[in-house]
Amino acid sequence: MKLRGILLLGAILLLLPLLLPNAFYYDLAVRMAINAVVVLGLNLLIGFAGQISLGHAGFYGIGAYASAILPTQFGWHPLAALAAGALAAAALAALVAKPIFRLRGHYLAMATLGLGIVITIVLKNEAAYTGGPDGMAVPPLALFGFELSGEKQWYWVFAANLMFSVWACSNLMDSPFGRALRALHGSEVASQGAGVDVARYKMAIFVFSAFFASIMGSLAAHYIGFITPNVADFSHSIELVTMVVVGGMASVLGSVVGAVLLTALPQALATFEGWETVAFGVILVLFMVVLPRGLVPTLAARFAR
């Protein structure tokens, strides 16, 4: 079943280019894939560990800016910059989460909300390094003398990335680590009683998802070639959480579906001229009222009957 799902996704990713008429749609597909991978990481945290991060775009922003600043201003190799960004994001996540995971409740949501906003403000103010609110250019990513450029080349990079992430996440969920996480979501107290070190597991998944987000931020920055502090801001964090919830918490397929739908939605709503924000809000509310468990789990439950 799981294997079939992954093969199906692989087939779609392989055949999709046949249907993509031009660079605009390639770009849309690429952005869907980028979001899907970040959302997969975030869903591990929200869906399995039962914790919300309202500042995940902050980690994404750390990756993006590491890949922009370190190569241009300090002469780092882009891959080294990507690794440095990811490690910094992971370290920051660990630092912030350490005191919080001793507590129950949604304290992580509050702390990460603050973290994301502080990161955005720093990016806006340290103009000497970041170019301030106007943003900065990111050098292209060159590997072994081959420079990645254009939507089509990047499509394969991100498609492969998505395949790997989906495979890794579904395997992770079937590992002892994943079972511990699911137990944790079911009942923290019961899993603690069964010998799961609750705080350590939550911490691990949070750090892991921050690491994921930073790497995708780096790659996305190289792909787009220009970044502004908006990549790290609150509304981007909210978009990511929304994708998790709309697709379905604790569902690998749901993460992909949520990312695809909500990346496409603003494009579809662009025709509303000015009413996009209102329409987006209405759709969010309707979705949550009608399908509170998310699209994929609700549909799965319906078909299973």
Binding site: H106, G114, W275, T277, G281, L284, V285, P292
Partner: protein
């Protein structure tokens, strides 16, 4: 006789007082927003991310109604009543139908509602920045070298009056006690005959009205636009958390503390980073006082 103080020290003291005044003024608005968060959180466990939009609505609607030629008191009354109505609509149309959903889903619902409110105002009143005259046009008062504008007195006075009124409401009226009972234990409250649906509706109306009052009071000092609600709401949320979610006294203390720390940081450290200050405060508080300043110690039943 006043003792003679060296001039520089005098200036430092008056500067400090000036920062304190502006901190208290902004802090009072955060406190009103935080009280709104707390009220809804107590009644329903929902963290209402649309709270900031009610602050925005208060200011923007007052601007709209005064421009439409209504006298200020009427405009203000309408600018409180309309957001209260919007708050009830949000509860009725978005929160109530999703009863029993997970906390994340409820957060997303309130964010959806805030997008709708913000979007409608953006289309209706545009993206401009607006303000209106202070309530009373008195000359500013000078205390110890610091300037206290009459509008600051309005902000502090009205906030104090609201806090007292709320205290009275929850202590001495049946409706207030019904809300408290619901926040303690909804099922038990229902069993003794409290209409918990009504309680939820009232808490949304009250929270929205309080947010709107804050927005109205603050607008002559800081101006308003369709998007001010995001930052103000988030800072109100921070204030509620700092004070301890669910505690009214905490919300008040958290709001004032947040405002003061922000104003001091803007004055003495860097005005560019003043918006970051309340969010850094959250880390400090969560680190040393995980339940906030006045949060109740909860033992969870398994």
């Amino acid at each position: 006789m006043r003792p003679r103080v060296p001039r520089t020290e005098n200036r430092m003291a008056s500067q400090f007082l000036q920062f304190l005044i502006s901190g208290l003024t902004v802090g009072a608005t955060y406190a009103l927003a935080a009280l709104g968060f707390t009220l809804i959180y107590s009644a329903s466990n929902v963290i209402n991310f649309a709270q900031g939009e009610f602050i925005m609505l208060g200011g923007m609607l007052t601007v709209y109604f005064t421009h439409a030629g209504l006298p200020l008191p009427v405009a203000v009354a309408l600018a409180i009543a309309v957001p209260a109505l919007v708050g009830m609509l949000v509860e009725k149309l978005a929160i109530e139908p999703a009863k029993g959903a997970e906390v994340v889903s409820l957060i997303i619902i309130t964010i959806g509602a805030s997008l709708v409110i913000r979007g409608v105002i953006q289309i209706w009143l545009g993206k401009g920045t607006f303000t209106f005259e202070p309530f009373t046009s008195g000359a500013p008062i000078v205390i110890g070298g610091a300037v206290l504008q009459s509008q600051c007195l309005w902000v502090l006075g009205v906030t104090a009056a609201i806090v007292v009124a709320l205290w009275f409401f929850f202590r001495h009226t049946l409706a207030g006690k019904a809300i408290l009972a619901t926040s303690c234990n909804p099922v038990a409250a229902q069993l003794v005959g409290i209409d918990t649906k009504w309680v939820l509706l009232v808490s949304f109306a009250l929270s929205a009205a309080m947010g709107a009052v804050g927005g109205i009071l603050l607008t002559p000092l800081t101006m308003t636009s369709y998007d001010v609600g995001i930052m103000l709401g988030l800072k109100g949320f921070v204030a509620a958390v700092v004070g301890g979610l669910g505690s009214g006294l905490g919300a008040l203390a958290g709001g004032l503390l947040g405002g003061i720390v922000e104003a001091m940081a803007a004055g003495y450290i860097s005005s560019a980073y003043k918006d970051a200050v309340p969010f850094l405060l959250i880390f400090v508080i969560l680190f040393f006082m995980p339940r906030g300043l006045f949060g109740a110690k909860v033992t969870e039943r398994v």
